[in-house]
C-alpha cells in the first residue's frame, strides 16, 4: 500500500485531533475476535483477528533434552510463518525477515522467568523436559502484527494442556516416560504473566496505539513494548526513524498504560471464552 | 579411437586412454592409470554467465564429482587445481567472454587419483579441439620410508613416506603444477622431479607428436558424422570392464 502526501496529511491531522480515520481515539483498539481450540490435533490453539490482521497459533508439545547449561528448565520455541495468502510478497522466502523479527521479539519477551516459568516443564533434571513449540501462522496483515501475534500466542498458551506424566522408568541411559492418555489428566499452563505487546506508533507529535496499515506508513518510528503485569519484559524500536529520549519516555508510559488495560480485558475474555461448535473460518 | 598404449617402459604400460567416448560433450576422455579410472568431459567454449564474464579471456569452470556422495572440501581443491592448470595451458585469450566447462568424474580410485584426473582433463581438452598452448601430463611419484622413489603406488601403503604429483608441459618439460604429501628433503624433491619428468616426457613427447593427428581425426569424424564403430579397433580397457554390458553401451 502506498499513500500520497494528501492522504498522509489527512491521517496526521486526525491523529492530532484525537479522532483517527476510523473514528478511534489515540488509545483505542480496533475490534478483536478470538477463537480458541480450533486446531484439533494441537495441544492448544487460537485464532485472533484484529480488524484485518489474522493470526493462527498452534501449540505442539515434544519431549526433549534440556540445555546442559539449564538442566532444570524446559524449552519454549517460537516459529513464525508468513503465509503468502497474506501478501504475494511473502511468497517463497519473502516473509522470512519479518518472521524472524517476530520470532526474535517473542523469544526476547518470554525470556525472563517472571513472564513464563520454564521450570515447570522439566520432567527429569538434565535428562527430559517438555519442549513447547508455538507455531504462528500469519494469514492476513492489516497492521499491528506485533500486538495481534502476542495476544494470539497468549491465548493459545492459555488454551494448552500438558499431559501428566504417570511414571518414569530409568534404566541406565534409557528413560521411559509413561504419559497419561486421559484427556482429563492435564495441566493448564499459567499465562497470567505472559506478556502482551503494544506497538506505540509516533505520528506527527503524538503517539498512538494499534496503528492500521495506513497509519503505519505515516509513522516516523515505533516502539514495541511487551508488558507483563505492569513490568516491561521487552522494549524495542522498529521502523527507520529515530526518536527523542523524551518521546521515548512518553511512548513507554503510554505503552504501559494501554498494555495493562489490554491485558486485563484479555484475561477476562480468556476466562469467559466458551467452546463454539461452528468455529474456524466458516463464520 | 584409442591412443595407443605406450610400451616404452613398464610404467607407461599402465596408462590407457580412450577419447571421444561421450557424444554430448565437445571433448571427452576416459583415462586409466593402473586401476584408477577417471572420466573427463569438456564443454566449450559456450555462453558465459553474466557474473563470470571476463573481457579478455575465457573463464574456465571445473566440476569434480566423486564416485559416491557429495563433493567435499578435498574435491573442491582438486577442482581448483585442475582449473588452474587448464587456464595455463589452454589458449584462453582466443575465446574471450565465453566459458569452458571441464567435468571430471571419478570412476575408480586405486591411488594416483589426482594425476589421473589431470591427465584425463588434458586428453579431454585435446579431444575437444580447443586451442592449447601446450599439452600437460601429470605423474605421481612415491617416496618410500627407505628413501627409494617409485612411480607405481606400492602395495604396502604404510611404507610410503611422501608423495609428489607433478604436472609438466610437453614443450620444455617444465613444471606447471606441483602438489606434495608428507615430509621430504629438497634433494628428494629434485630426484622425484627428475624421475617424474623422464617418464612424463617419454609419455607426452610421444603423445604430443601424435596429438595433432588425433585432434584432426576426431574433429573430422565428428563433422562428417561418420564416427567409426569398429569394435576391433577398440581394445577393452580392462577385461572385466569391457565385458560389462553397461560399460560397452557407454563406450560405443
Amino acid at each position: 500500500m502506498s499513500l500520497c502526501d494528501a492522504e498522509k496529511t489527512f491521517i496526521l491531522h486526525g491523529v492530532k485531533e484525537n479522532f483517527r480515520v476510523d473514528g478511534r481515539d489515540r488509545e483505542g483498539y480496533r475490534p478483536i475476535e478470538l477463537e480458541t481450540n480450533i486446531v484439533q490435533h494441537a495441544f492448544g490453539s487460537a485464532r485472533l483477528r484484529l480488524a484485518n490482521t489474522d493470526v493462527l497459533v498452534a501449540v505442539k508439545l515434544e519431549i526433549d533434552v534440556p540445555f546442559p547449561e539449564r538442566p532444570f528448565e524446559g524449552k519454549l520455541e517460537f516459529f513464525v510463518d508468513c503465509s503468502a495468502n497474506a501478501t504475494p510478497d511473502f511468497e517463497g522466502r519473502g516473509g522470512e525477515t519479518l518472521a524472524a523479527e517476530l520470532a526474535n521479539i517473542l523469544t526476547s519477551a518470554y525470556r525472563s522467568p517472571q513472564t513464563f516459568n520454564l521450570k515447570k516443564l522439566c520432567i527429569l533434571k538434565g535428562r527430559k523436559c517438555w519442549k513447547i513449540c508455538v507455531d504462528i501462522l500469519i494469514l492476513e496483515c492489516g497492521g499491528n502484527l506485533f500486538d495481534a501475534v502476542s495476544l494470539a500466542v497468549k491465548a493459545a498458551l492459555h488454551n494448552s494442556q500438558i499431559p501428566l506424566i504417570k511414571s518414569i522408568n530409568i534404566d541406565g541411559d534409557n528413560i521411559e516416560l509413561n504419559v497419561s492418555d486421559s484427556v482429563f489428566d492435564c495441566e493448564k499452563l499459567d499465562v497470567a504473566n505472559a506478556p502482551v505487546m503494544v506497538t506505540v506508533c509516533k505520528i506527527g507529535d503524538q503517539c498512538i496505539v494499534d496503528p492500521s496499515l495506513a497509519e503505519e506508513q505515516c509513522s516516523v518510528g515505533s516502539v514495541v513494548v511487551a508488558i507483563s503485569q505492569e513490568y516491561f519484559s521487552t522494549v524495542t524500536s522498529i521502523g527507520k526513524g529515530s526518536l527523542h529520549p523524551r518521546t521515548m519516555c512518553n511512548s513507554l508510559e503510554l505503552g504501559q498504560k494501554v498494555g495493562i488495560r489490554l491485558n486485563k480485558a484479555f484475561m477476562e475474555t480468556l476466562h469467559n471464552i466458551q467452546p463454539d461448535e461452528d468455529v474456524g473460518f466458516l463464520k | 579411437m584409442e591412443v595407443d598404449t605406450l610400451k616404452e617402459e613398464n610404467n607407461i604400460d599402465r596408462l590407457k586412454c580412450d577419447l571421444g567416448l561421450l557424444s554430448r560433450p565437445d571433448g571427452s576422455a576416459l583415462f586409466t592409470e593402473g586401476q584408477t579410472v577417471v572420466l573427463a568431459a569438456l564443454y566449450g567454449p559456450v555462453e558465459v554467465k553474466m557474473q563470470k564474464v571476463l573481457v579478455e579471456k575465457a573463464s574456465i569452470e571445473c566440476i569434480y564429482k566423486p564416485k559416491a556422495g557429495f563433493p567435499c572440501v578435498q574435491d573442491r581443491f582438486k577442482e581448483s587445481f585442475i582449473k588452474n592448470i587448464c587456464e595455463t595451458s589452454l589458449a584462453v585469450s582466443l575465446y574471450p567472454r565465453s566459458t569452458i566447462l571441464v567435468n571430471i568424474q571419478e570412476m575408480q580410485n586405486h591411488g594416483q587419483l589426482l594425476s589421473c584426473a589431470i591427465n584425463a582433463a588434458c586428453m579431454a581438452c585435446l579431444d575437444s579441439g580447443i586451442d592449447m598452448k601446450f599439452l600437460f601430463g601429470s605423474v605421481s611419484c612415491f617416496l618410500m620410508k627407505d628413501g627409494e622413489l617409485s612411480l607405481i603406488p606400492p602395495v604396502n601403503e604404510s611404507s610410503i613416506k611422501g608423495m609428489f604429483v607433478f604436472v609438466f608441459n610437453n614443450t620444455k618439460g617444465e613444471v606447471i603444477a606441483s602438489h606434495t604429501e608428507g615430509l621430504f628433503t629438497a634433494e628428494q624433491y629434485h630426484d622425484a622431479l627428475e624421475g617424474g619428468r623422464q617418464m612424463g616426457v617419454a609419455a607426452y613427447v610421444k603423445r604430443g607428436t601424435r596429438s595433432p593427428f588425433v585432434c584432426h581425426l576426431s574433429l573430422s569424424e565428428r563433422r562428417g558424422g561418420t564416427r567409426r564403430h569398429d569394435n576391433d579397433m577398440l581394445l577393452p580397457l580392462r577385461p572385466e570392464l569391457g565385458d560389462h554390458p553397461g560399460y560397452r553401451a557407454m563406450f560405443f
Binding site: 486446531v39 484439533q40 490435533h41 494441537a42 490453539s45 484485518n52 489474522d54 493462527l56 498452534a58 505442539k60 515434544e62 516459529f79 510463518d81 503465509s83 503468502a84 495468502n85 497474506a86 501478501t87 504475494p88 511468497e91 517463497g92 522466502r93 513449540c133 507455531d135 501462522l137 494469514l139 492476513e140 496483515c141 492489516g142 474456524g280 473460518f281 466458516l282 | -
Partner: protein, 251 residues
C-alpha cells in the same frame, strides 16, 4: 501373520463409519479475507485448506511474461502444525513443489488465460490441517477462490480421491487413516461437466481390471463435489448480492 486392518467391515462400513461411496462432510466459504482479490476456505472431513488469489496483475519478473496468455503462479504450503508430527518447514520441500506444479496444471486447464496477456495470477494455498486428500482439497479451494476473485473459468475443476477396499470395492474420498493402513489411492482432478480428466495420479499398484470402476467412482465424487461447491457459490453470490442491493455482484 495377521492380516492388515480391513478397510471395509463386513457390513460395508469404513473405519470412520462411512459407506464406500460416501464423501466426507464438505463445508466451505468464499471471501474469508479482505486483502486478496479472492479467497476461500474448505473443510473436507478434517482436512482444512485456505486459498487466496491475487491478480490478474502485472508480471513480477519480466522474463516470464507471455504475450498471448497470463501466467499462473501457484504456491502450496502446509502449516507446520498441520500434521500429527510437527513439520520442520512449511514449504520448499520436494512434496510441496510437486503439489504446487500439479495445482498449476489443474488450474491452467480451466482459467481463460488468453484474456489476460502480459499478466499473472497468483494462487496460494495453505493447508491448516492435513487428514488425507490434501491435493483434492487444495484444488477445490483454489477453484472457489478463483470464482471469488471473479476470474473467468471454463467450468469448475474439482478433485477427488478413490481407493480400493478389500481388493474389490471402490471407495471414495480416502482419509488419512485409510491412506496409512494401505490400499492404493487414485487422485483425479477433473472437469465434472465435460467429464474431462486434467490430472490423474496413483500411489500404489492395483490390477488394471479395477481401474475403470475406481476411476468412475472418483469422477462421480468430482461431480458430487461440484454440486456442493456450486451451492456454496450460489449462496455466496446471494449474500453479497442481497447486501449490496444487487447493484454490484462482485465483492
Amino acid at each position: 501373520m495377521s492380516r492388515k486392518k480391513e478397510l471395509l467391515s463386513k457390513v460395508g462400513l469404513r473405519l470412520d463409519g462411512r459407506r464406500a461411496d460416501e464423501l466426507r462432510r464438505i463445508r466451505c466459504k468464499l471471501g474469508v479475507f479482505t486483502q486478496p482479490d479472492g479467497s476461500a476456505y474448505i473443510e473436507q472431513g478434517l482436512t482444512k485448506v485456505l486459498a487466496a488469489v491475487y491478480g490478474p496483475h502485472q508480471v513480477r519478473s519480466k522474463q516470464k511474461a507471455q504475450h498471448d496468455t497470463c501466467i499462473i503462479n501457484t504456491q502450496f504450503s502446509m502449516a507446520v502444525f498441520s500434521t500429527n508430527e510437527r513439520k520442520k518447514r512449511p514449504r520448499g520441500d520436494r512434496k510441496s513443489t510437486e503439489l504446487s506444479m500439479h495445482l498449476q496444471q489443474a488450474l491452467l486447464a480451466v482459467i481463460k488465460t488468453e484474456l489476460y496477456p502480459w499478466s499473472q495470477i497468483d494462487v496460494y494455498v495453505e493447508v491448516l490441517h492435513a487428514d488425507g486428500g490434501i491435493y483434492p482439497a487444495c484444488v477445490n479451494a483454489a477453484t472457489l477462490a478463483i470464482i471469488d476473485a471473479g476470474i473467468p473459468i471454463k467450468e469448475y475443476v474439482c478433485a477427488c480421491t478413490a481407493s480400493l477396499g478389500n481388493n474389490d470395492v471402490p471407495m471414495l474420498d480416502v482419509s488419512h487413516q485409510e491412506e496409512v493402513i494401505g490400499g492404493p489411492t487414485l487422485t483425479v482432478a477433473a472437469l465434472p461437466m465435460s467429464g474431462k480428466i486434467v490430472l490423474m495420479e496413483m500411489s500404489q499398484r492395483f490390477h488394471l481390471d479395477h481401474l475403470p470402476k475406481v476411476l468412475d467412482k472418483a469422477l462421480e465424487g468430482c461431480k458430487d463435489i461440484k454440486a456442493i461447491l456450486d451451492e456454496a457459490v450460489k449462496k455466496h453470490i446471494q449474500d453479497i448480492g442481497s447486501s449490496t442491493g444487487w447493484a454490484n455482484t462482485t465483492s
